[in-house]
Symmetry: C2
Subunit: 136 residues, 2 copies
């Protein structure tokens, strides 16, 4: 069984992304579990584990990954972008008091009616965010 790093390396190569040291480390952090991380969190995590990576490389790499469908960029609050390691279709809970994002699997949401897209357009995706507040 190969370690997680080398599996990340393989995934990058499979996408046509050259698996440099920095890219593999960024992929390893984000893809190690289904999670939502900001660019700064990823940078801090890498720096904390002694990696030499620049902020610019983190941002550029995340954009690169997202453009290749390896991760998904979320616009949940206006403050910053969140990067989701889960690229399968799914939705989100957004806890307004903690800021936490929680995945909602597709089967837990069913639309019995959706509007027809305007003429000349088609649906590229559906983003659903269920905002949560503390009860009472």
């Amino acid at each position: 069984m190969l370690n997680f790093d080398s599996r990340c390396e393989t995934r990058l190569s499979a996408c046509g992304i050259r698996p440099t040291a920095q890219r593999v480390r960024i992929a390893t952090v984000l893809l190690s579990a289904p999670q939502h991380l900001s660019a700064e969190q990823i940078l801090a995590s890498l720096r904390g584990s002694g990696a030499r990576v620049s902020k610019a490389t983190v941002y550029n790499t995340l954009n690169l990954f997202a453009s290749h469908g390896l991760i998904r960029q979320l616009s949940v609050d206006g403050a910053r972008a969140w990067f989701d390691s889960n690229v399968d279709p799914h939705y989100h809970f957004h806890d307004l008091s903690s800021g936490a994002l929680i995945d909602v699997p597709v089967p837990e949401v069913e639309f019995s009616r959706l509007p027809a897209p305007p003429p000349g357009t088609e649906v590229a995706g559906i983003d659903l965010v269920i905002r949560l507040r503390k009860k009472q």
Copy 2:
């Protein structure tokens, strides 16, 4: 019949917001129709019509209006906030090629299944964005 400005003034007062000249002008621009505008667009519109308003006042006023439920702030793309003059519940189409936002009335979407909110929380709101791309 009163003009639109004085109706805006009345709406501000009804919310407990002191209707100063700048606030009434900002409200007049945004509330004149159901629309989605950015802070910069509102500032440009006001400056273009000869109004004396500062950028800080536009931002602060939009936050004030949103906190009183007079307008709604949207997080559709990461780039900037959009302010929606329609505060009735509704959803959005987001045209990815033009950036345009189009309202989707509530009756055009029906959920036949939604996940239960996690223990201790309740649903504060549902944001649905249907992304559109050009057909073919």
